[in-house]
Subunit: 436 residues, 2 copies
């Protein structure tokens, strides 16, 4: 820190170069771009945003959810009025106050049997990632594996915690297991500790890829053989075409999977409530064993103290109103996202003939489709697309450093309506045509 | 990570010794003790908890605050129904959505002129501390100064970010400036970068100490001379005896003070909403300048994405209902805390004659009084006090490593009523008598 001038103009001054390195890393530019590009081109139709659809939400819903949760505490849990008040008003249990409801939801919707004590409610799934990475990153030897292309939130969390991320390529059925295995062996041979591998097995952001059941079982087998922890992130799994695949966690017999849960797409992003299921046993220095969740809770105490009980109550009321089933709560949302995805895929097929140089994958669910175009899909192209053609998308190069990413982009269909998708694709076709 | 047994019993296993070092540091034991001691002795009266008083809160308040905030957005801000819905439902602005209300409150209550763009809403004041420390901790040379005894939340945040904390003793008027200055020079001489000094100038937790105006000005002068950033934490300043002292930030002409704000005591802990005012200019690599708040927001994007808009709306509604004045909103709370503090101080005087070996300080506000007793005030003594005498307090040794802490303890009067204070002090006197 240096100062600028004489007494009159004296000011404290910091220099960006003296601040934490994550503040100048490419992932931050990517996060900023994703957040801001829509504001720069407000008249453009955005197929960039992965935000959830908001038409099915009413602004008064949170008030009703809160009232529902208060009634639940009083009637189902037998809380006194003072205990209900304390629950909403005060600092609360570090691991959260809706862990039983979340455990019931996981059993109903995902066939995951989770001890409520192994669940930590977090400030969105982002904090769950940060807590898991903070617990696992002990020193400079530690490395995280992540399927590439990779969700920027994971890359950002790792950067903030000085944890290097080694990419593992996604394959047709999710993950290239041969590369995963050789990468683990290579890293271990050079003295690195591979602390975990991050995967999004269902309709991944940004690739749209999903693993079939056989691929999930193979991944678990390889993880077991390599003694590798898996971090499973599952924000989109409920938005399938009728085939609800089992999560890695539900297939996990070795407590090897830390499940990172989000309510952003299945309840509301505005609550900022997520959770981790962390039942991997931790052997303490005295030899006794406790779930990893206990360690995450300690870190959470130092990071955010606890997740807002008011925000948890909003999500808790939402769960209570739907019998603890997010499948039931999201029946209409699933229809909307499936309709949009079909519209997007059909619209691409209608505008880009086969063999014409534009190709794309065909996810059966989720929010994202990846498109290959015959030109560099970079930020300059995006700016031109927004400015001249009124349509926004995301260059895939923001999600991985690989030659494949050069001419590849991500389209998202979650936040728009069917007519906007048609308009956006007309404009996108015009933009692609101008470059071809 | 190793596994335990053959295929049948095969389990992933972690070892505590391989996890981040903060998980085994003493500060965590302290935080755990503070959180759990009341649960272990549920029949004891707790003068340990620094939680706010909840009698003035109604469990339906958050619902009303939300409705108030929705009306404010629609009527005062001219938001369309869709914009109101989006504001509560979606991911939002990383720096927060109630920054204008907070800026108005700071101007009204604290005489702090803050550009709303220099304010970052956070998940409680804890996240504000974490963001500031994460920005400032760039490498192993970095050190933080903190007034000792020190709030455990600060010590915990620093441990989680591998940032060493060098203690500076509190003096009678707040901080021993000679020691501060010599400590900064000593650290710099050995190659350390002193990134900031953390202070709580009003009714500090745990010491109860406050700085008078002259001491605040002297601290700012020394900080300017040393070119030292100050982190000002102010959760208790409004609970004074009639003399509302100016914050360091309101006296700061050099943008040298990062102000860490809390709504936990002035609104409700259950919202988990706090904020940082961070207007210190940061010179970017290209030479342009932006407020530190922009850097904190980038880190926040990687840590929690944003602070729950629903939780912010609860605090926003509370501010709107009281004309953006927390002074107005907390008139009754101030009376309760002042009544309790007088009851505690009078009760100590009635039970412990002068010269009898028990001494205490006499804060004019806040929640905390520090008592010196003629025996070791350690965890074993606390356990006996809880088990045998039914009264809880906190050993000061949890807040600093100093010989003074040996026979020193903290009493808190915030969460109890006057009769409980009397009962607690009767029991405390019996406990002290049993040891004298």
């Amino acid at each position: 820190m240096t100062t600028t001038a004489g007494p009159a103009a004296r000011q404290a001054t910091l220099h960006a170069a003296d601040l934490h390195h994550s503040l100048t890393e490419p992932v931050l530019e990517s996060m900023t771009l994703l957040n801001e590009v829509s504001q720069r081109y407000p008249d453009a139709v955005s197929l960039a945003a992965g935000r959830p659809h908001e038409d099915l939400f009413d602004a008064a819903d949170p008030e009703r959810y809160l009232a529902t949760f208060r009634r639940y505490l009083a009637r189902e849990r037998g809380y006194s009025p003072e205990a209900v008040r304390r629950t909403l008003f005060q600092y609360g249990r570090t691991k959260g106050i809706i862990h039983e409801l979340v455990a019931r939801m996981l059993a109903l919707d995902e066939d995951i049997v989770a001890d409520p004590e192994s669940i930590v409610l977090t400030v969105g799934c982002q904090e769950a990632m940060v807590l898991a990475l903070r617990a696992l990153r002990a020193d400079d030897r530690d490395v995280l594996l992540a399927l590439a292309p990779t969700y920027v939130g994971l890359t950002g969390a790792a950067a903030m915690l000085d944890l290097p991320v080694a990419p593992v390529p996604s394959g047709g059925d999710g993950v290239d297991l041969a590369v995963l295995e050789s990468e683990v062996r290579r890293l271990r041979a050079r003295g690195s500790r591979v602390r975990a591998c991050y995967v999004m097995p269902d309709f991944a952001n940004p690739s749209g890829l999903s693993m079939d059941i056989a691929a999930r079982r193979r991944l678990l087998e390889v993880a077991s053989r390599l003694d590798l922890l898996l971090l499973e992130d599952n924000p989109y799994g409920l938005f399938h075409d009728g085939e609800h695949r089992p999560t890695l966690k539900s297939l996990d017999t070795e407590r090897r999977v830390v499940y990172l849960g989000s309510f952003a797409k299945t309840a509301l992003p505005g609550a900022r409530v997520g959770y981790a299921v962390a039942d991997t046993p931790v052997v303490g220095t005295g030899g006794s064993t406790h779930p990893l969740a206990d360690e995450l809770a300690k870190l959470k105490g130092m990071l955010t103290v606890n997740t807002s009980p008011v925000a948890q109550a909003v999500v808790g009321g939402h769960l209570v109103e739907h019998g603890c089933s997010l499948v039931a709560a999201n029946a209409a949302q699933r229809r909307v996202y499936q309709r949009n995805l079909r519209r997007l895929l059909d619209g691409l097929a209608a505008r880009f003939p086969e063999g014409g140089g534009v190709r794309w994958n065909r996810p059966s669910g989720g929010f994202f489709v990846v498109v290959d175009v015959p030109f560099a899909a970079d930020d300059a192209a995006l700016e031109e697309s927004g400015r001249e053609f009124g349509v926004l998308w995301v260059p895939m190069r923001h999600f991985y450093d690989h030659p494949d990413a050069r001419c590849r982009l991500r389209l998202s269909c979650s936040a728009v309506g069917p007519d906007e998708i048609d308009t956006a694709l007309d404009r996108f076709a015009a933009f692609v045509g101008s470059r071809s």
